[in-house]
């Protein structure tokens, strides 16, 4: 077929980061399950108390990393805005992964975007959660038949809550967040 023009001899600077070839670009990433130090230091009986306190603090101040891919991003912004206020749950949109707890994948994850999603997921501090918002992030949605679209973000990063809809209404994204908060309260042991 047509051979690829290599950019060097054309004198073009190519800033494409080299994530390796196609297969290891789409390798899944496992959720880290490191244990906090206090579980080692504190005796068993006191751990549950500390766990509940920390889980309650964590669930009531979830900072999502604004990661707008496509149409769901507009509904996500709509949820942050005063009509469907997310600030009352203590959820503050935060642009950088370094200070965020939740990654809302809102939109279609294409195979060109997958390595960036993985890198952003790894750069988030532990404990971290992922909300896959919309049909596209869950299993490719209406674009699932096109071969450059990744059929669901859970192929590359572990997902905690799936929010249905295309795009999901702001209320259903809020329900997704409430489900995530309940999940944090239940699994307070390994999130510790």
């Amino acid at each position: 077929m047509t051979e690829k023009p290599n950019t060097e001899e054309l004198g073009l600077l190519s800033y494409t980061p080299d994530y390796g070839n196609e297969e290891d670009r789409l390798q899944p990433v496992e959720a880290p399950n490191d244990q906090a130090l206090y579980r080692v230091v504190l005796p068993g009986v006191m751990q549950t108390g500390v766990d509940t306190v920390i889980a309650m603090c964590r669930k009531s101040s979830l900072w999502p990393m604004t990661f707008g891919l496509a149409c769901c991003a507009i509904e996500m912004i709509g949820t942050f805005m005063p009509n469907h206020d997310l600030d009352r749950f203590g959820i503050v949109p935060w642009p950088s992964p370094r200070q965020s707890d939740v990654m809302i994948v809102s939109g279609t994850v294409t195979k060109k975007m997958a390595p960036a999603v993985k890198l952003l997921y790894e750069q988030m501090p532990n404990p971290k959660y992922v909300i896959s918002m919309g049909a596209c992030a869950t299993n490719g949605g209406p674009y699932t038949e096109y071969d450059r679209v990744l059929q669901g973000v859970d192929k590359i990063i572990p997902v905690d809550v799936y929010v249905p809809g295309c795009p999901p209404r702001p209320e259903s994204l809020m329900e997704g967040f409430i489900a995530l908060q309940e999940k944090i309260m239940e699994e307070k042991k390994n999130a510790g």
Binding site: A70, P95, P97, M113, D147
Partner: protein, 379 residues
């Protein structure tokens, strides 16, 4: 490599290395998954390499493998800020290709809905552009106050907020609810109130005007060479609007005027979009006054829509520029080839010429003034 000027008496030449900044796919200022690599010397942008394709979802390939009417679900998700403008463009293209008549009332309802979603999309531009220039939260909340009202109106009419798929080949799916006229009029008054608020918030703000005035002026010849259409082209002074130049649907019956800027700088682009919303509100009012009664859907629609040999390119005035739909039919129920001429694609292709030579902060403002939507750039 810049040297400290001799006039300071220090003759040491301090070479500085250009730094490459990656304003990457996940960045608040890129309005989606757009990436540009800026080569920066200190604060000055020396080179900008735009990369797109992070949201390439295969609109054209999927349209070729689906029925004409099924494909509308993908087409209104291209410019996801103004769902109905894209629906209207695609549906009019299919009707013209198949030669299907649309009743008068449906034409008026369509134009009304398209103009409302144009206002909707421009409110998002005002919100995001205010955030790019500096007022992070306020402009977004102002914009969203009006957007939520327009979304409520869309929801009452067609059941969904962003992609109501309210248009159908041959007309409109449902008639308007009874109280639509009163609801629409008071939403228009709140839109006008919202526009005055934005006028006061942004145009009245001296810092905003200082930052945007005389930033990156574009002459009409340059704009045409780069393929600018829509507000980007009208900002340079060339008052070309497809609703006037090549009128489709019932636009030549409505009277509205085309605001144009003077020197095509960032402030003119913002001002053209702001005053365009007043014109759209005028169009919506005219549609409400002259709305004929009658049927909203062509009665004799074929069960399966088969279009024999034929092709067409229908340009329409989308919110960002010329939203053209190219369709080729070879018989059968699927389009043989469909292509979207997306305005943001052409507006964005000239980013390097626009950005090089400005400061980094101004590069973000220029990118914001292009008002790109990645769903339509990457198709």
């Amino acid at each position: 490599m810049t040297t400290w000027p001799e006039s300071q008496g220090t003759s040491t030449s301090l070479e500085t290395v250009d730094m490459t900044i990656n304003v990457g796919p996940q960045h608040p200022a890129t309005h989606g998954v757009f990436r540009m690599v800026l080569t920066v010397d200190g604060e000055l942008v020396k080179d900008c390499e735009p990369y797109i394709g992070y949201l390439h979802r295969g609109l054209e390939k999927l349209t070729e493998n689906a029925d004409y009417r099924q494909a509308m679900g993908w087409w209104d998700r291209t410019d996801y800020l103004a769902g109905m403008c894209c629906e209207g463009a695609y549906v009019m293209a299919v009707e013209k290709l198949a030669g299907i008549e649309v009743p008068e009332r449906a034409e008026y309802i369509r134009v009304l809905m398209m103009e409302l979603s144009r206002i909707n999309s421009h409110f998002m531009f005002l919100g995001a552009f205010g955030a790019d220039v500096g007022s992070f939260g306020t402009s977004f909340t102002y914009g969203w106050r009006e957007r939520e009202r327009i979304y409520d109106l869309f929801e009452e009419v067609a059941g969904d907020r962003m992609f109501p798929t309210y248009f159908k080949v041959g007309g409109v799916t449902m008639d308007l609810p009874e109280n639509f006229e009163t609801r629409c009029r008071d939403i228009l008054s709140s839109i006008r109130q919202g526009l005055e608020d934005f006028d006061g918030l942004l145009t009245g703000n001296e810092v905003f005007v200082e930052r945007c005035r005389d930033l990156n002026p574009v002459t009409p010849e340059q704009a045409i060479a780069w393929g600018f259409t829509g507000p980007m082209l009208r900002a340079t002074g060339l008052g070309w609007d497809i609703r006037k130049a090549e009128p489709y649907s019932i636009y030549e019956r409505l009277n509205f005027d085309i605001p144009t800027g003077k020197q095509g700088d960032v402030f003119d682009r913002y001002w053209v979009r702001l005053s365009e919303m007043y014109q759209s509100a005028r169009i919506v009012e005219q549609c409400l006054d002259e709305m004929p009664s009658g049927r909203v859907l062509n009665p004799d629609l074929p069960k399966t829509l088969r279009i024999d040999e034929g092709e067409l390119y229908l340009p329409t005035e989308g919110t960002k520029g010329e939203y053209g739909v190219y369709l080729m039919a070879q018989g059968g129920t699927n389009a043989y080839r469909a292509k979207l001429r997306s305005p943001s694609f052409s507006n964005l292709s000239a980013l390097r010429e626009l950005v090089v030579g400005n400061y980094v902060a101004d590069a973000i403002v220029i990118l914001g003034s292009l008002d790109i939507v990645l769903g339509e750039v990457d198709k």
